[in-house]
Point group: D2
Amino acid sequence: MSKLSGIFTPHMVPLHADSSINEDELRRYIDWLIERGVHGLYPNGSTGEFTRFTAEERKRIIKIVCEQANGRVPVLAGAAEANVTETIRACETYAEYGARAVAIVSPFYYKLSSESVYAYFREIALNSPIDVTLYNIPMFASPIDVPTICRLSEFERVIGIKDSSGDMAFMLRMMSAIKPHRPDFVFLTGWDAVLVPMLLMGCDGGTNALSGVAPELTRSLYDLTRAGKVKEAMVLQMRLLELFDTMLYSADFPEGFRAAVQLRGIDLGNSRQPLSQPQQVDLASLSRVLQCTLADFGYVDQPVGGCRLKGGEMNRDQVAHIAQGVIDQLRDKGLL
Amino acid sequence: MSKLSGIFTPHMVPLHADSSINEDELRRYIDWLIERGVHGLYPNGSTGEFTRFTAEERKRIIKIVCEQANGRVPVLAGAAEANVTETIRACETYAEYGARAVAIVSPFYYKLSSESVYAYFREIALNSPIDVTLYNIPMFASPIDVPTICRLSEFERVIGIKDSSGDMAFMLRMMSAIKPHRPDFVFLTGWDAVLVPMLLMGCDGGTNALSGVAPELTRSLYDLTRAGKVKEAMVLQMRLLELFDTMLYSADFPEGFRAAVQLRGIDLGNSRQPLSQPQQVDLASLSRVLQCTLADFGYVDQPVGGCRLKGGEMNRDQVAHIAQGVIDQLRDKGLL
Amino acid sequence: MSKLSGIFTPHMVPLHADSSINEDELRRYIDWLIERGVHGLYPNGSTGEFTRFTAEERKRIIKIVCEQANGRVPVLAGAAEANVTETIRACETYAEYGARAVAIVSPFYYKLSSESVYAYFREIALNSPIDVTLYNIPMFASPIDVPTICRLSEFERVIGIKDSSGDMAFMLRMMSAIKPHRPDFVFLTGWDAVLVPMLLMGCDGGTNALSGVAPELTRSLYDLTRAGKVKEAMVLQMRLLELFDTMLYSADFPEGFRAAVQLRGIDLGNSRQPLSQPQQVDLASLSRVLQCTLADFGYVDQPVGGCRLKGGEMNRDQVAHIAQGVIDQLRDKGLL
Amino acid sequence: MSKLSGIFTPHMVPLHADSSINEDELRRYIDWLIERGVHGLYPNGSTGEFTRFTAEERKRIIKIVCEQANGRVPVLAGAAEANVTETIRACETYAEYGARAVAIVSPFYYKLSSESVYAYFREIALNSPIDVTLYNIPMFASPIDVPTICRLSEFERVIGIKDSSGDMAFMLRMMSAIKPHRPDFVFLTGWDAVLVPMLLMGCDGGTNALSGVAPELTRSLYDLTRAGKVKEAMVLQMRLLELFDTMLYSADFPEGFRAAVQLRGIDLGNSRQPLSQPQQVDLASLSRVLQCTLADFGYVDQPVGGCRLKGGEMNRDQVAHIAQGVIDQLRDKGLL
């Protein structure tokens, strides 16, 4: 089998109004992504909210995606379940569904030691009928450190790592420790903000949430970097960074991404995580900002009323300050 | 219904050799705990490894525990599921099973903002047919801050909080913010290390992992504190602290607690989280230490060979140092 | 010499308009504190902004304070300098000035290992002509862990620890490890938020920033606790907590405390840390809130215009929200 | 004046046996560095242990370095002092000494808000007679965030930033925010582990501790990257990474760097931070490892007895494990 490389989309899952999986729209979204050039699909990732689905739903998602991809692009299936036995069972099922490999996040909730992380993946490496990529995302799950990855790279079944720490030094340390004895080992970055430098330093590709929103952009950036057009790639990286940061930091993850995908015409429906009234207002406001940025790229039209000039934005603190001033004055005059 | 108070045991679940639930032993364990004086049971807590069971298993555990408790003591059922809809369904099921209340941990994996935490619990408060206690454990899940708890205390269904941060100032802040308008609100601490001071400062009780190991001890400590015998309670607190720290910090949570419960004659079986060879050796060594401490309390016999004198222990670093010295010398002499 | 106990005030240093030390006002402040019942003085602590003074100024501060205290209350002198040699020199100087003991913060800026922290304090313990209290404040300096404190308690010169972590379990662990072989060891807490429970659990006293603002309050709380009037002490603790939190979290430390001391009639002057225009506005607003709280205690008059009713406050986020709504409407109508 | 670029060495300061500054050796070290191709000198940085010198010593160090450099390479002088007034005074002095610019770390000990960090640097920007580079090192000092750097870039006096976070995304964010309006702004990285990718992404150079140990290596790496020989540069980066990690993580910073510089024949003397007996043993052992790595590069001879083969090392945990086994067996047989 060929080595995994390129951009794998950790896509979200469209939901009906009653919160059940919208299979038709999911299939349409898969087609939409493939048509726009993503190299692979990565269902049941963190962006795909795998923890918010039941075990049955997770299986159904992989089944639908494998069917719909239908060999056009490889599927990297998120396979983490409640415990090592259930995870191995999922590996077996996803092998049958035709996934190219699985991606397995380190155990979460409890913060495990390196030794426990090793023992967990070792068990999987020994029993999985399908290639395994380790998934390191220390902000959400027990970290997988360099010595542990190194020990795990001794299992043939473990073919690579997808790292979402965004830590360049960590990536270089892994490469330095593993490439000498495993030149085939795959390094994927899940941190869109540093995609170009990661590719330049030797990553084989990425699993990038942004490719679910703007697959054309991530693909261009990938192609330009591979073609050695670093300057042009960097210009895109900088613009991508702004879009990525807006989606990431303006709302609880992954609501910003949901809003952006929605703008591209995919009907994702509402989050399973309830939103308060102020959050809904904030999200509407964020959506307007995202529409302007996506319009800058030419992916969508500007919102009705147009986009404000750059630099004219005020942040929440500035607004609070102005408002506080007004309120204080009203209060001093006894009007409040 | 009477206010929750006293010690609720967040007990572990015995497993068969094939890792399935050992129902007979679970029932025996429940009896054992009730006979030793715990005020209530708290299945599917963090000590109970709720994340390592499937959704079906979690339901089965609550069913068994409610049946076995059979009204002798109240059951506080851990009810967190993959999403708010599933969690509410679990609340409904556990109400039918006869649980006194549910305890719901804040969403985990993703780190949610206060507003999202509020929206999640609000939805539950509006729909649960059974009393809800919030479960704050910031080291594992999204934190529930004081203003959020305060807003949630406006729902009648939310009857209390179980806090495992161990932060005394945080506990005082909650009490200060909530007691004036909700004198019935229940405050439970999940941090055994500070149980006596928490009770003295106004907590109604605790959900304490140690009560699954030494229910007699936790119960004595509780009774002494309630009786105003602070000095005696403090002596126990100090001894408890040592036992608690050993179980907590000598192995990945909750393996130390499993080893200790095992020593009390409850056959918990092996962890679903695989252990490496060195971890198994370490755990055997820890078990010997725990047996000595439990023997000090008179709960078990000393291990064969007796217990080493206090103060004679060496820590891993000291051992490493000595060993390194030996190895270096051997190496310098060309013997290694 | 008698054991250190009671409330030691980590007082601030009044400055002239040109930022030089206002000696007259410092002497007046010392008198003011002693008259209101503090048990000791603690110059050059964190509240006292020791890092913002030059080495010469730090010496001058201790000289003034020792002179002015003149034996009425003991002086615990903050003695941390750039390196171990300079620190020992400061110990010598402060012994000559008549300080009762020194308090030495763990090395900061670099995060040192336990072994380095030990080596640093060991050197001081062997060379200081004056009693030494260790100062643990992990949010600002290298932490001093329990085994390290235990090793250091073997030096007679080390007479106690002042802990500002506020971690009750940590305090109990220290007591458990040290009291058996050093019953004379002094435990002071620097975390006002948990002063009552810390005293109940065996602390000898505290070094509490709040005692520089409201010495009467801290003193009452101390006396009530010592007299076994726990209920009354707790009521004060809860009120103190609110005041403490407001000073601590509404501005960069220790600006909130400076504003509050100022309200008591001590002319502290401006901070050596420059404040931006918005910060000055915020501080003026905070000062009004603090005046209301201090007026509730009867320490000062209400501000002109009176105090708003409790519960009617809006937080910054709420204000921002309202303001954003107004601004959005204006913008939608093209008025902005 | 020309734009700062290239490698600036944050060099250490040689000390006599009595811990006073060894001026002759410092001058020899400066010559040694310049002869080996560093582009500039950066005294009083974190590697240079500025906090462990007195204010007078810090001034003397800059004076010596400026004199000795004597215009051959520019001097970037660390100028952070106890407060803003003292810092500005240091700027004035260093301007007189002939420094090219100063580097000022954000206030430390207290963790300041962005607004305070801004106010501090604003005051300096308005009053310094010499160009200022901001120094961001969030692991030791209050962080300088992107909006704050952006606001500060409006002052002409602020000519650049030296960032030691090693966070590539942060660097890209800064560049994206500042380059459009300040194309002359200088970006330096202090994180040797990612020097090549940082240079590729647009950094002007670095302030790299490793250049004090192996200036030839850092210089080669810089020249190769600038010449577009990315592959060769990457090979060096990977080897550099190993050396850097060994120095950084095997002892408290910057002891590993001191040991390595010592191996190059510069007599740095002992640290002002006392070392315990075990630390001295560990450092001797580290020195042997470093000598082997430096010998691999051809900078020094192998240690007497030669270097062990790669891959044969055991880590401390493995050693502890073996040793524990031996000890346990001896104990079981009653021999211990």
